[in-house]
Symmetry: D2
Amino acid sequence: MAKLYFRYGAMNSGKSTGLLQAAFNYEERGQRVLLAKPGVDTKGDSGIVSRLGMTRSVDFLIPAGSSARSIFAAHAAGDDPDALLQHVDTPPVACLMVDEAQFLEPAQVDDLFRIAVLDNVPVLAYGIRTDFRTRAFPGSLRLLEIAHTLEELKTICRCGRKAIFNTRRVGEAVVFDGDQVAIDGQDVWYESLCGSCYLEVSGGRLGS
Amino acid sequence: MAKLYFRYGAMNSGKSTGLLQAAFNYEERGQRVLLAKPGVDTKGDSGIVSRLGMTRSVDFLIPAGSSARSIFAAHAAGDDPDALLQHVDTPPVACLMVDEAQFLEPAQVDDLFRIAVLDNVPVLAYGIRTDFRTRAFPGSLRLLEIAHTLEELKTICRCGRKAIFNTRRVGEAVVFDGDQVAIDGQDVWYESLCGSCYLEVSGGRLGS
Amino acid sequence: MAKLYFRYGAMNSGKSTGLLQAAFNYEERGQRVLLAKPGVDTKGDSGIVSRLGMTRSVDFLIPAGSSARSIFAAHAAGDDPDALLQHVDTPPVACLMVDEAQFLEPAQVDDLFRIAVLDNVPVLAYGIRTDFRTRAFPGSLRLLEIAHTLEELKTICRCGRKAIFNTRRVGEAVVFDGDQVAIDGQDVWYESLCGSCYLEVSGGRLGS
Amino acid sequence: MAKLYFRYGAMNSGKSTGLLQAAFNYEERGQRVLLAKPGVDTKGDSGIVSRLGMTRSVDFLIPAGSSARSIFAAHAAGDDPDALLQHVDTPPVACLMVDEAQFLEPAQVDDLFRIAVLDNVPVLAYGIRTDFRTRAFPGSLRLLEIAHTLEELKTICRCGRKAIFNTRRVGEAVVFDGDQVAIDGQDVWYESLCGSCYLEVSGGRLGS
């Protein structure tokens, strides 16, 4: 029986690099993988981007409200027009990898669990544990509840300790209000901090 | 800087035994520990009970609505009547251990985090990850979000695989409705199952 | 395919308690386990003793020079005189647990690996990582090389940090010479220390 | 107190990628790292090469017979001619990372331990656990004995299970004789296998 893994980490901990390396390892051994990410990722594209410079397109998006297991099954079977046109053989899928898994809906995480347990395909879900207010994202929460294995991807705080939280910044200011999802861009950016530095910038504020 | 650890496992995975062994290890080296559990643990007593036969009383309960950090500080300082009467010296606390941590309130878990980070006392929180419907308990959820380290205590399913879920049973029947907390007794009991056996008894039902 | 696990820790980290809890978990679910330890354990007895107060006899010893896999197979099949006399049914073995695994011979560790991989029985080997000179024991070394999974059982140093080394003491003196195995007794005892405290008492001496 | 980490994995498990990502994480936060590898790495160059396509030069080699701690101290202090010529400021080193750590001498691993414990600089050592005969390399062995934390970097076997061993191949043939180190090239290559596939190709042969 295959398992559902949740590989979680703070922002900029190397999640996409880890995913791309894992995909490479499978393919180097002649095995087929499928890469996916939630359609609600407001970055709006289909790329998996490593800060080390590598990029790769996902095989499919998982739109809001959709069944991740049905979409997976269709792609695993090769029922996509491109493959059919090319008469591509469709070997079994050795692994499904999902980036930005924090943005999945809880029911879609349940789907990933069924893909692992019922379809016997290992699922590696990479994602952020909590938002800038230290609350789990919907997808992260469900993964923390039901994943067979929780594996932390570590990164460091500016002080050298392990970073576990993400602070949202607008310019130099740290903000604690706003929507859960505000993609980093010109104004908004995120800094991963350890517990001590987080409590310092938050004035002791955590979830409460 | 000390850390907050969440050692989670399915029911009957040996959490209380692990806690008692950890306490023993500290005390054997001449160090002082404090043991606590939530007051809302409806077993209604102050004992930490290992199925291997060991029992020990907690040093304090954490009642609903209370500040875990204040109660801890008072006990760490030796402000309890028994200690004062005995003129007991109060060495610093080397570790705080919390059993049944799934029943803590989220704000009390935030307190545990502050005890670790601000008071520099390691906190070992032992608890169950999810209820009989595979949903996190309030305390577990907050621990999954903010603990510095998540460590799984393993146990096995009747089929030999690793158990990750807890099913509620009334006699032989598996039930999926009812309050989140129903302490096991004559009628109600729990069985820890792996993902495959859980989906079998639930007819494919998970959270969704 | 089952796996060989090496659960290692410094002395007095709760290895035997962990083993007894794991055995209890299996048996509580109606599954059969076998407990073993090396015959060369110079404590000379057949007991697994937890410092928390529990004791249990092993099902068999693994004498020096013997094949651990053959002995296991005989006991798994119920070919021991006691069982035959009692006409005991012999259900399959769900798990083999080995205490004091650091004293196994390397070839016996290879046997444990084959029991896991070829006989499909999970093997939990509990043992100490290194001797009082920070050198692996023969059994530990082989387990560190080939176990599928290495899991640390933690305990603490007198300073509160994680202990990883074992110092040998004769009375209050710390000694760095002598046989690798000198069972603790009236004169000789061991103290688990962190790296910092070890380097302090050793005057900076490690393996070199 | 800083720690010595051994991140071990079978060949082609992504060790160099992991190292480069970890270095990137530190530097992105404005912190200084040093990268090193043993001089005896018979690849004979000073590059850290990820199969994903990234390459980076080490800051220094650790030649056979040398003191890793002295070389580290000199580079940390900026006593290298290039830096002096450029009047480069030398901020403290936040992390030392060592690739191909299996080729270190045991005394050099002891040096890494002292760098962590006495100089308070975290050391990340990446390396292979065992050779093609399932025996630890000298550096791996010492790291398995004394590293504060052992972390496995996973990869997969051709069968889809976790690979833990490395087989040496000359063309299609699997060989079990020869020097411990034979760098892969035109004739010699390595395949990472799980325990089951290894025992199959070795005819049941392991270390014994």
